[in-house]
Amino acid sequence: MQRARKRVTLPDKRVSEEAFNMNELKAKPIYLDYQATTPTDPRVVEAMLPYFTEKFGNPHSRNHSFGWEAEDAVEVARAQVAKIIGASAKEIIFTSGATESNNLALKGVMKFYGKKKPHLITVVTEHKCVLDSARHLEQEGYKVTYLGVKENGLIDLEELKAAITDETALVSVMAVNNEIGVIQPLKEIGAICRERKVFFHTDCAQAVGKIDLDVEDMNIDLMSISGHKIYGPKGVGALFVRRRPRVRVIAQITGGGQERGMRSGTLPTPLIVGLGKACDILSNEMAEENARLTELRDYTLARFRDRLADIYLNGDEKERVCGNLNVSFAYVEGESLLMDIKNIAVSSGSACTSASLEPSYVLRALGVDEELAHTSLRIGIGRYTTKEELDTAVDAICTAVERLREMSPLWEMAQEGIDLKSIEWAEH
């Protein structure tokens, strides 16, 4: 897309020329890790800039125009965020990101309602910040049920229904998984929760701008949003907290009582303006952008399948967000693959790439064999990805897979028809 390419041009010409000269010497790296983070859209940066300098006021200053100006900007942003999820502006609380929003949703709700309803339900494939909040609650004596997922990464609604008891205060299910991109059935989950009078929280860090979200239609009571996953700045996010019927949370950060007492601290006006602008852009361009990304994703997967045997898509193929591919390249270990394609920024579910030396817990939860989990790559496609970049990346990845398979004893055995499962491996 011509228009999309132009947007990347940096405002400072000197900087971009310098970068260009450096790139002549080195092949330009290709960024395919849009689930980790996104570049800030230059239009967002432009909207933010005045709030660092001439419009620097404290939005909580009630006595002068500097404060009013900043407050007005924050309220515009609040409305922009609310609009993209079908909420009203008063229901948006600004935070430092989805991690904080998830902490506030889980701990805040459980601590408010926990005396009567000490039970929380969540899912094993949630982001670490949800799982860790749940663990902390468990340590404090709350009860937590971790739902498993089916082979396609989706939860079983019957299992959810069965897990809800009279003591359940909250169900927290992420909308889109960060590793495998699968989309949980939010509307169905919302209906179940509403019927059983249980609050429904959903981590939408990876979902905003990728799928249609409507807190009314989906009966969502709390929703976490992150700025840097949607071409906004890092360090800002939001939590939607429903007003009717009202959801109460115990603040996790206390002080001046900002954000209706739910989150104290001076609001970072420039970041919030940026988050608002990022949502505003999505409101206008989301449909077109996602159609393009879906086409690119399907094209990329088809090219992999054309050229390579024994590759597996992790996570449901249909119930999947537009910019995510997670593929296991059997018989080739993920980190060695990353080393071969060092000009392409992707991530791997291989143990060797994680600090814990364990393969991805998300892939394991799907029942993906450990050996296949070690061979997975996550390819994240986004606003500035071009078809040419994907062609280069697919070629490089396939060439690397072919080279490493030639070097792989497992590939050799598989070609000889040996069932790898029949061998007694010495686990070390």
Binding site: E333, S336, P359, E371, M407, S408, P409, W411, E427, H428
Partner: protein, 132 residues
Amino acid sequence: MAYSEKLIDHYENPRNVGSMDKNELSVGTGLVGAPACGDVMKLQIKVTPEGIIEDAKFKTFGCGSAIASSSLITEWVKGKSLDEAGAIKNSQIAEELALPPVKVHCSILAEDAIKAAISDYKSKNSAADAAE
């Protein structure tokens, strides 16, 4: 992760990739590791009647450090006697490739692989001797 130049060289230009006929009496095969752990090494040696390793080949499923460790050890064992090859320590490999601490297990696997290949060769040949 920042790797040493030597490691990257062995990863990018691995020496002695390949396979030998594991049924041949002069060939010893070591297969160590497990797919579920993310690394498997197959190391093969071809031994002269005098007990000298005249050739070595490997195939490895694993991270860059595992591939480099196996490549390096095939270079080192060529021309060595079985005893000399069996005396190679993983710490020598780790030092030569400047393996980061989390990757030291790759060098241990390489040491295990050569030991397994030597013992496979010896057991095949003592069985053959006994059969004669």
